[in-house]
Amino acid sequence: MLALLLGGFRLQAQEADSGQVSRIVVRSLMAGGGWANVLDTYLSPLEYTGGGARIVFESMQNTRWRQGRWKVQHQVQLQYAYTKNPSGSADMHAGLLTYSYALLYKFPMAGRLQVLAGPMLDVNGGVVYNQRNSNNPAQAKAYGGLGASGMLAYRFHIGRYPLLLRYQAQLPLLGVMFSPEYGASYYEMFSLGHGSGSVRFTSLHNRPSLRQLLTLDMPIGTGILRVGYLCDLQQAKVNGLKTHHYSHDFLLGFVRHLYLLKGKRHFNLDAKDHPF
């Protein structure tokens, strides 16, 4: 009981202390491109490779839960890849829109390193289109579910110049995925309406995917420049069909810190009430 009381007092103290920190919103927009490798055995048994482009929007802010230690992160990603088969005789377009919502708990740690982790919900929708195919020209992508997200943020200086290095990993754990059956045609599924069995349960055993993002934030003037590298390994084996979309993208963008109180426009990378 004494411990609970002490804990309660400590919580109250922290809550009072964090009353001001819950109103910061960190938003960033990055764009870039890189390399992509696409496989979809519904369309072709071969891996297609080529270039890709990606836009990443992120918003992260403190919540009022647990003295502001829980953070909420929204991410919207739009990616496109134009790929060719190994011989260069056919091409494939792949587009995917991803939305992820993560609740991250910021562990109390002293020092420059911050660790955050928590559950994540992701929803993905897109299409892969092979220009050469007849009755199997495209594959719709629709999947999502619950996962785990972890983040490491490290603040350091070069001289007096502040920098923030951040690594984030997103690991889907449980979810559902649309997939045609092994040899089902879209004619049968949509023209005739025989789509049973096309939505499957997924977990690590059939959708072992991992999305990793490494960013470096650098203040420039009154703004903050963000450079990043995103390694996205999305893959699945459902209904006997193998799919993967591997991409390595280099990103460049800006970060905006919004403070929901009037009169506070600028924010410091070293601020104690930063979400990460």
């Binding site: 092979n130 007849s134 009755n135 199997n136 092994y182 045609s185 084996k237």
Partner: protein, 339 residues
């Protein structure tokens, strides 16, 4: 620090797990043997008639592998490889199986070359005359004996609802209608269905379709029914004859099967060419594409349609009629419709 180590370790494990369980392509390499094995495997795992054709004419796909593997050498030219793989594809006796490369497209032609052509567009033009109407994929005319005649040469391009309504309106005064789909090599099933929907007043079960659920030769889904529902708008209410020949193939085969289920419809001519497998496309490591039958379709009694549909009235074009510029099938169709 402990937590840092814990999460660092977790990230490494997650990464290792992901890399260790990479889902990659099964097919790799690009030697003549790699391409041969890829083609054989695609057919082995995805082609939908291996069991049926084993029963129909003794096709043994494993034996085919053994026989053709001996014809593959490491230093053979692309042309030689294309010829061998084309022969391999033709073992399936399927017009929907085509290997395509810059050297050409393989095609199994026995399904029509071994039979009378039973169609002459020169003779057909005697019936269409010069004032026929060309509308969408149709050519139509009122014949001299007041029989309507529509020729549909392909289902690859769409048939507009307005075009169909206008055609049937214009031919409504006729005593009967001939729908000629000879030498129509197919196209879209939905287009064929749209035309068939003009000839029924009720929803009719016309067949079944299924698909493979795995790589085994007998891994199929439960057959799902296929219906033709009556078109909204103008529908034909008088007798109809559908003319067929061996080149009535694929979606046209489906159209003929559907029409055969309807009242007032008589199929006249030769057995259709078949082609009841909805084709998919895949490819070999060297970039050649392979089209193959993936989803089998059946008639309303679950009979296979792959090798064609027999007509209600068997008629071949005769040399005597052709010499006189007469189309034996159209003449017979007119007799049936007039009686």
């Amino acid at each position: 620090m402990r937590r840092f180590l814990f999460f660092g370790w977790l990230a490494v494990v997650a990464g290792a797990l992901s890399v260790a369980s990479c889902i990659r392509a099964d097919i790799s390499g690009n030697t003549p043997r790699d391409n041969f094995e890829a083609l054989w495997q695609i057919i082995d795992q995805q082609y939908c008639f291996l069991t049926y054709k084993r029963q129909a004419y003794g096709l043994d796909w494993d034996e085919v592998h053994t026989r053709y593997a001996d014809r593959i050498t490491g230093n053979m030219t692309s042309q030689a490889l294309f010829e061998v793989l084309s022969d391999l594809a033709n073992e399936l006796r399927d017009g929907h199986v085509n290997l395509s490369s810059s050297m050409g497209t393989s095609q199994y032609r026995e399904w029509f070359d071994s039979y009378p052509r039973n169609f002459s567009d020169t003779i057909r033009s005697h019936y269409l005359k010069k004032d026929y109407v060309l509308s969408s994929a149709m050519m139509y005319q009122v014949l001299e004996n007041n029989i309507g005649y529509i020729y549909v040469g392909s289902f690859a391009s769409g048939l507009g609802d307005g075009n169909l309504t206008q055609a049937l309106n214009r031919l409504a005064v006729c005593d009967g209608l001939i729908v000629d789909v000879r030498s129509n090599g197919g196209g879209d099933l939905t287009t064929a269905e749209k035309l068939a929907a003009r000839f029924t007043n009720e929803k009719v079960l016309v067949g079944y379709i299924c698909h493979k659920t795995g790589p085994g030769h007998d891994d199929f889904s439960e057959p799902a029914p296929m219906y033709v529902e009556p078109a909204v708008g103008m529908r034909w209410q008088k007798p109809v004859v559908v003319l067929t020949n061996r080149r009535s193939y694929s979606a046209t085969n489906y159209f003929v099967n559907a029409m055969k289920q309807f009242d007032r419809v008589t199929v006249v001519g030769d057995t259709t060419g078949g082609g009841s497998g909805l084709p998919f496309t895949s490819e070999l490591p060297n970039g050649w594409s392979i089209r193959f039958s993936a989803c089998p379709m059946f008639d309303a009694q679950m009979n296979q349609l792959e090798f064609g549909i027999e007509p209600d009235v068997k008629v071949d074009m005769t040399a005597a009629d052709m010499a006189q510029g007469k189309d034996t099938m159209i003449e017979r169709a007119c007799e049936i419709l007039k009686n």
